[in-house]
Amino acid sequence: MDERRYRSASGEPIALRRRQHSASCRELVVRCPRLQLRSLSAVTSAVWLAAYGLFALSENSMVLSAAIFITLIGLIVYLHFVKVDQESLLVIGSLGIQVTSSYASGKESTTFIEMGQVKDVVINEAIHMQKVIYYLCILLQDPGDPQGISEVVPLFQSSKPRLDCLIEVYKSCQEILAQRRTAPQVE
C-alpha cells in the first residue's frame, strides 16, 4: 500500500493510493483536493456583495434573504452532486471491475462491470473543452463481434489525473487483466 502525489489536468494536487488486497485484487483510489475555505469565502462574498448592490438599487429586503437562501442551497447542491472527494477503482481478477465515486457530502455512487464484459482498460486521448486530455477508460466487449467495442466507460472523470498517474493505474490494471489470459476461466 503506498500513496503518491500527482497533478490533475488542471493543475490541482491529487493523490493516488494503491492497495493490493490479494494476488488478483487491487484497489486504486484517487483523492481530489478538498473544498478550499478561501474559494468558498470568495464565492459567498461575491454573491452577498451582488445582493447588497441589488438591495441598494431596489430597496427590497427580500433580495438579501434570497441571497442567503441561494448560497445555502447552492452549497448543499454543490457538495452533494458536484464535488467529488475521491474516485476508486477496484479490480478483482476473475470477477469484475468496480468504480466508486464519493462525493463531499458523503454520497457514494458505484458501478460494477463484470469481467466477461470487459475487453480492456486503456489510456485514450480525446478533445475535451478546448484541450486534449489523456483519460483512462474501460472498453466493453461487443457480444456479437469479438474484435468490436460496444461501449467506452471513462474513469476518474472529476479528478482527471495526468499521464504519469494514469500510467501507474494502467500498469496495475494490466497486471491483473493479463492473468485472465494466462489462466483460462475455470467452469
Binding site: 475487453k119 480492456d120 486503456v122 489510456i123 485514450n124 480525446a126 478533445i127 475535451h128 483519460y135 477508460c137 472498453l139 474484435q147 468490436g148 467495442i149 460496444s150 461501449e151 467506452v152 466507460v153 471513462p154 472523470q157 500510467i167 494502467y170 500498469k171 494490466q174
Partner: protein, 126 residues
Amino acid sequence: ENSPAPLPERAIYGFALFLGSWFGFMLYLIWAYIPETWLFSLGLTYWPQKYWAVALPVYLLVAIGIGYILLFGINMMSTAPLNSTHTITDNYAKKQQPKKFQEEAIPALRDVPISEVNRMFFLPEK
C-alpha cells in the same frame, strides 16, 4: 490551366467589380442621406423606406458577431464526448482487411487497435 497568374479577363472582371461596388456605395449614400422630397421632385418615388438604410447594416453586423459564437458552439457540439466509441475507432477501421506480411517490405498501412498501441507505449519497463 488553373494558375493564379493575372490574365486580361481577370483584370476586366476586377475593374467591373470595382466600378460596380463604388456605384452601389454611392447609391446607398444617396438613398440614405438625400431627403425624400428632393428625390420625389426628381421623379424617383418607388424606393424602400430609409429605416432600412440603418437597419440592414445593423442586422449584418449582429449576424456576423453571432456567426463567430455560433461556429464555436457548433464545433463544441460536434466534438465526440469522452464516452463515445468515435474516439477509438470508425467504420473504415472496423472494415479493414488484414494485409499479408511480405519479407523486407515496409508493412502496409493499417489502423492499429488501441489496446496494442497502449501496450507498446506504456508497458515496457526502462
